[in-house]
Amino acid sequence: MEKPDKKSMDDIRLSPAGKMWEASREKLKNTPVFVAGAGSGGSTLVLQLALLGFGAIKVCDSGKIDLSDLNNRFLPGDEHLGMNKALSTESTVNKVCPGVKVGACTQKLDRSNVFDLVGDAGFLFDTFDNPGDRFILSECAVAKGIPHAIISTSGMDAYAAVFHPPKTACYHCIFDKKKLEIIISGLGEKVKNYRENKLPLVSGSLSIGTSIAVNAALKILLDFNNPGYNRFYYFSQDRTGGNVDHTAGYKAMTHLFTDHFRQLCREQGFDWNMNRGRKYLEELTIAADPDCPLCGEKAVKKGDKQ
């Protein structure tokens, strides 16, 4: 087979589904996106974005690859052990898709630098596993008015959702920041055990949440209909074994859910505490919480303080 020249190769890579979406190429190539986390979910997601033709991907992670990461990362080989996760992701994607510009950021994201790090990104993907950081990212996305996807995986379970207020609920409508604060103060010094929990991951579930988020981003950025707004996608094969509701992995994914979200799900015949749904993949309808501290009626909006 005759190999095209390098420029043509890059063009083919950066054109989703071949020539079908010719017009979208420039849009994706020129829309910067921000990926928080370059762990199992983040590295998978960056690869998917690169293959789709996203031309400017900033990936942020301050962690290093250790032995426990090797069974759940698609990108690096053993030679990346000890390397920063974002740098490892950048180096691998540059090999697979040389035309894609991946910028690695090795800083620890916090409230003071999040706005600068996210910069002019047109979409924010959150694959962090630290709930505290997730609230910071959500606040940044809402303030910047950019769409924001969350992805989480544990064991054989995964979930994904896209937020873009005021068109949709926000992350704070679904996850309770106060609950996190209560847990941290309630555990006192024992909070160390809670923070250092290492959750199990099954590689087969890694790409489920990321695929939903990447496709949703594609639809939003290209103005397609039905981009998955106000939907919470939950995939679970664990339930077939029963008793997962009390495992640390399941709890880690669900324990911060707001009462508002839990009640919405109950009204759809789905209970996060027990009985749960009846399908492998649940598409739960979500709605903004009128009492949401970030986007609700009583939230302090820009300018309110004046």
Partner: protein
């Protein structure tokens, strides 16, 4: 079995020997089964001891269940009367220190509450059915001093039939809470949710302090109302306790219910065998403290599931879920169709509801009463009806009624799920 005895087996053996040598009822119980403490050599032998039940302790109280050396006049003993939910009250007396030790061990799952509980002096408030208190709190003429216990607990006044409590008492409750400035609350959640509604209406937010919810299982509807009024900053923990034992299990900050395996030896029994993780099972409990009234393989009548997974909080006490009392389960054709806990999962915490009660009155007849509030809109309850009909199965006749009053049980406790079929099955000796 929850930990295959682990370190508890030797302690359980000592308790058996202690009870055999010191408690007349237990010696007779073992003799009738042709067993002596020496026969219990391995964890497997433990199951040979016939279970003990409430009726044994009622019938033999006080002389034959009190260990040698104790009398009811003993100053070291405290009385713990049950509320009498099953129709007859059961009196337990025990060394106060034994109960305290069990409570402190149990509270270790919630470090912040554990720390506050150990502070002295500690202003506490109790708001629970009158039968659960050892002072006269159903009397509207009692004063604050009458209801102030030696340990700093103020027992708030309440009528036996909760919803009939007159406004004058509710007003008094607010004044007393404000004066006492509690640092911790021991409450029945349905009772407190009722008081919260009144407080909210009058714009009163009580002083912040951890809430320990016990006496009856906490419904999500009650929890929502309590948290709404206290604010989301409050530490709320559900506690499982029995008047016979004291504290047994407690909810950790992450929301896992952990059972104390340090103070008790536990057996979860299903079909006469140790249950598997996640299976519904009755809890049998054995005390380990060589106290005044030892309980050996004591049938609690409560159904749980235990789990062998680690909790996010990192505490090692096993996780459980309490399904409720077997006699309150909904049955059809001799099979369990819904437990009180499962029912509560279906109802959830809708903002338009203040209280609910499910009553099975016959094989196919179910009455779901609920008290709506000002947020209620026509047909809000549809999702509950749909899910209930699915669970109850074909042919079930479910009536859903909006009401403005729901009575408490005879004991003064409020049960969100009662069942004539459950009672029948239980009296016929239905066991899991």
């Amino acid at each position: 079995m929850i930990d295959d005895f682990g370190d508890n087996f030797e302690a359980a053996r000592k308790e058996i020997t202690y009870a055999y040598e010191n408690v007349r009822f237990f010696r007779k119980h073992m003799d009738e089964a042709k067993l002596s403490p020496e026969d219990i050599r391995t964890p497997g032998d433990f199951g040979r001891i016939p279970p003990t039940e409430k009726k044994h302790y009622r019938k033999n109280f006080p002389l034959d269940v009190l260990a040698k050396g104790y009398t009811l006049k003993d100053d070291r003993l405290t009385r713990f009367p049950s509320a009498g939910t099953t129709g007859e009250r059961l009196m337990t007396v025990e060394l106060g220190l034994v109960y305290m030790k069990r409570a402190i061990e149990t509270m270790s799952v919630y470090p912040l509450i554990h720390t506050i509980f150990n502070r002295q002096p500690l202003n506490q408030v109790r708001y629970a059915p009158p039968n659960c208190s050892d002072v006269e709190c159903a009397n509207p003429y009692s004063t604050m001093q009458d209801r102030l216990l030696r340990d700093g607990t103020l027992v708030l006044a309440v009528y036996h039939d909760l919803l009939t409590t007159p406004e004058v008492i509710l007003k008094q409750n607010i004044e007393e809470v404000e004066k006492h400035q509690p640092q911790m609350y021991f409450i029945d959640s349905t009772h407190l949710a009722f008081l919260m509604r009144y407080m909210r209406k009058h714009g009163y937010t009580p002083p912040n302090g951890p809430l320990l919810s016990s006496y009856t299982p906490c419904t999500d509807v009650s929890r929502r109302q309590i948290l709404e009024n206290f604010g989301r900053d409050v530490h709320f923990s559900e506690v499982v306790a029995m008047s016979e034992m004291g504290y047994m299990a407690m909810e950790c900050p992450v929301g896992g219910l952990h059972i104390n395996t340090k103070s008790y030896h536990l057996e979860f029994i299903c079909n006469g065998r140790p249950a598997e993780p996640g299976e519904m099972a009755e809890l049998y409990i054995t005390t380990l403290d060589n106290g005044c009234i030892p309980h050996l393989r004591y049938r609690t009548g409560d159904v749980y599931r235990f789990f062998d997974s680690q909790c996010l909080c990192g505490h090692n006490f096993p996780l459980i879920r309490i399904e409720g009392r077997l006699r309150n389960f909904l049955f059809r054709n001799g099979e369990i169709v819904l437990t009180p806990k499962e029912l509560d999962g279906i109802v959830g915490a809708p903002r338009w509801m203040d209280m609910y009660k499910m009553k099975q009155t016959d094989e196919n007849d179910f009455l779901f009463n609920f008290i709506p509030n000002e947020k209620y809109e026509e047909n809000n309850e549809k999702y509950i009806r749909d899910e209930l009909l699915l669970k109850l199965g074909p042919g079930a006749d479910l009536v859903m009624e909006k009401v403005d009053y729901i009575p408490t049980e005879r004991s003064g406790k409020f049960l969100a799920c009662v069942s004539s079929e459950g009672e029948k099955m239980y009296s016929k000796g239905f066991c899991l």
